[in-house]
Symmetry: C2
């Protein structure tokens, strides 16, 4: 008999089904037991009646501990009052194995340290399962978006000889005697790939050896980075907002149960609309200076921190682009605005509700001499960038791109307090077990 996933029970109304899962919860009277079973796809209530399964069997079932694995045969019944709208009237329950001791994560509250140390078990709880499924949906949404638009997926290398923006926040590795670093961005490689393939993206892990402990940072995170040849600043912004909007719609359409499990305020996501508002950095600075907040003495030329970003994003219901940042505070490869070279044709996308920057992007310098002088100004070793400079020596064209941080996006769409719950096994300062 074929196994049915709990989430597909609605295709089996009044039929006999076989489900395989683990006991999540249970309550029992003398004659009837109600098991809540999870199989990874969803939860379902299983009703066990003593006179159906027999005295001996019923006694065994009534003692089942949390997380005991079971294989259940029974009839799937529509039951609007039950979790998921279905329940199973059990005819047979097979206990697959016995737990070695009581399950550590009970239905009581546990401290975050304890949960983090037991991450391998914590991920079995409904909230963590819901987050991981939404993450998977977001990743699939991103890939479909690019695939439908003729982007070629080109994985960037992780082991890199030089750093995009200095080596201070890099993990160093010994590469058979040579110094190497874990990549914090695939962008430069994507620029090379865009000149070969037109439109490309990479989607993989990136690393920042930051010594800070915040609820917005992980030392290992995933990033999707797109790069487009023959494309400038404005079109870049459009691709970004359409991508983010598509992700939101996919999550709303395909993860309703998970959002409910997370008690996410879905209206906040539903009210987001295209186009996203755009503010120049200078306009954003004005808003901040006109505020009554502690940062009202913010000066043009400084970079925004989390409080400034939150203040600005709270003025909008959709994510907001802040563009044309001061050249001084942005990366060496950013193209200056032709009408004002004090600012660059770059933009960050700030998520609503205080979730911070989820995208950074912009147009790249395509002029060889300007790029050379920027590399010198930033004290970068030119010999490491010769291949990158070649992209301006041969076939140089207007091009642009952006990078979206996956974990920040997951945290925002799930409405999470802390980014550590956005990935299977988060890597944080002094925390890499399990």
């Amino acid at each position: 008999m074929e196994t049915t996933l709990i989430k597909n029970l609605n295709t089996k109304t009044d039929q006999e089904v076989l489900i395989k899962g683990w006991v999540y919860n249970m309550r029992s009277s003398g004659k009837i037991s109600f098991l809540i079973i999870r199989d990874g796809s969803a939860l379902v209530q299983v009703v066990v009646v003593k006179k159906e399964v027999g005295e001996e069997e019923f006694a065994k079932i009534a003692k089942l501990g949390q997380e005991t694995p079971v294989i259940i045969k029974g009839i799937a019944k529509e039951e609007p009052r039950s979790v998921g709208g279905y329940e199973i009237l059990a005819s047979n329950i097979e206990i697959v194995s016995e737990n070695k001791s009581e399950y550590p994560i009970t239905h009581k509250e546990h401290g975050v340290e304890f949960l983090a140390d037991n991450r391998h078990l914590w991920i079995r709880t409904p909230k963590q399962t819901a987050i991981l499924k939404i993450r998977s949906e977001i990743e699939n949404s991103i890939r479909s978006y690019f695939q439908k638009r003729d982007f070629v997926l080109t994985d960037a290398p992780i082991i890199t000889p030089a750093a995009c923006e200095g080596t201070t926040n890099l993990f160093e590795i010994d590469y058979h005697g040579d110094k190497a670093y874990l990549s914090q961005s695939g962008q430069l490689y994507m620029e090379a790939a865009a000149m070969a393939l037109g439109r490309v993206y990479c989607f993989g892990p990136a690393f920042r050896a930051e010594k800070s402990k915040t609820r917005r940072h992980l030392l290992e995170f995933w990033m999707v980075e797109a790069e487009m040849a023959f494309m400038g600043f404005e079109e870049n912004i459009k691709i970004q907002e359409e991508l983010v909007y598509t992700i939101i719609q996919d999550v709303l359409n395909n993860c309703e149960n998970e959002l409910i499990t997370l008690k996410r305020d879905i209206d906040k996501l539903k009210q987001i609309s295209l186009p996203f508002p755009r503010l120049s950095y200078s306009e954003a600075v004005e808003i901040i200076q006109n505020s009554d907040e502690e940062f009202k003495n913010f000066k043009w030329g400084e970079d925004f921190g989390a409080p400034e970003e939150t203040y600005i994003s709270n003025k909008f219901t959709s994510p907001v682009f802040i563009h044309r940042y001061p050249t001084e505070i942005k990366a060496f490869y950013m193209k200056p605005d032709p009408t004002n070279d004090k600012v660059v044709l770059g933009a960050d996308l700030i998520a609503p509700e205080g979730y911070g920057e989820i995208i950074g992007g912009g147009e790249r310098i395509s002029d060889l001499d300007l790029l050379l002088s920027r590399i010198k100004e930033h004290d970068l070793p030119q010999e490491s960038f010769e291949w990158y400079l070649d992209l301006r020596r041969f076939g140089s064209v207007e091009h642009c791109g952006f990078g979206l941080g996956l974990e920040r996006t997951v945290a925002w769409l799930c409405g999470l307090e802390h980014i550590r719950e956005t990935t299977l096994f988060p890597r944080m300062l002094h925390k890499m077990y399990p």
Copy 2:
């Protein structure tokens, strides 16, 4: 006017189009020039007639160097004799930028060292572009396969405290004072995820610090690893062969032009059929011992090397599973065959045509005591595996999984001599630039 990708010219027959790309090749007579333009999506011949564009313009165009970026307006014409079946009668050609010197990679033969050092430019050539597109197609095919079958994508961590199978071939990093390693497999983490979500997979980079230089190995490669709860050896094999078969069909259906560019013998891929042949290790040893090859003195208990794998795979047109290897030569977590504990319920999938192992997989030990004794036998530090042991203490069920190496699969389907061409910027011994 909207840009048309060259590969989509067949939707614009006899219409005016705008294309943006680079000069790949050209020949000119006194009155007419033929440019071959590439835009990353495909190649097209552009016909420039002197009396159409004017004397001055024509003279400029006739001198265009390889890889000069151009924007071309013209009429798309069906032309079966031209590359791609279309050509463009140009009305206007805009030169976007001039190259700083002659393009290094000409249409002559170049040495592999030179090409590898110029990988950022080498990827613009038709063969490399075709390989990268097939790689992208394979990755999309893999993801669709799992998504359609209710697998949840759960990215495994790259920075890991301990090693799956010893630390000899691992890259070590300094994790803020702690020793850490770059992951060579996400499998153990996938086992934890499968107990939470039922069916899971990860798809990301993996690392092996091997000191060998072979045409089959990279130090950084991508691997897709799937893990399924409540599933055993036989079903695992079926999922693998269906996955590989699906990949082949997707590449045949969607990458015909790329396979032709690579001069791939397509019949060899078309004749592959389901189910794939299965051989036990013992049967494979017998075949080898009965051969007239130099390895005919191979003894039961030894591991197969490339020559043995190639000899066996040459007996089949489809990939072949070799299963039930000696327990001694396989990883500590592999489940022994209940009918003969000298062998394990694991299988490798060997690609045809000498491309070697592309999948390793099997059923895992679900019994706590057996796993504990294996960890001791293999001299592994038990405290590093406590969380992994917990998966047998709580809710332990039959489970299995496998890992498919992306680059090996790309090399095979593209028919490549060397694995270094299967990825954007390969990482090899003493080679990490660009």
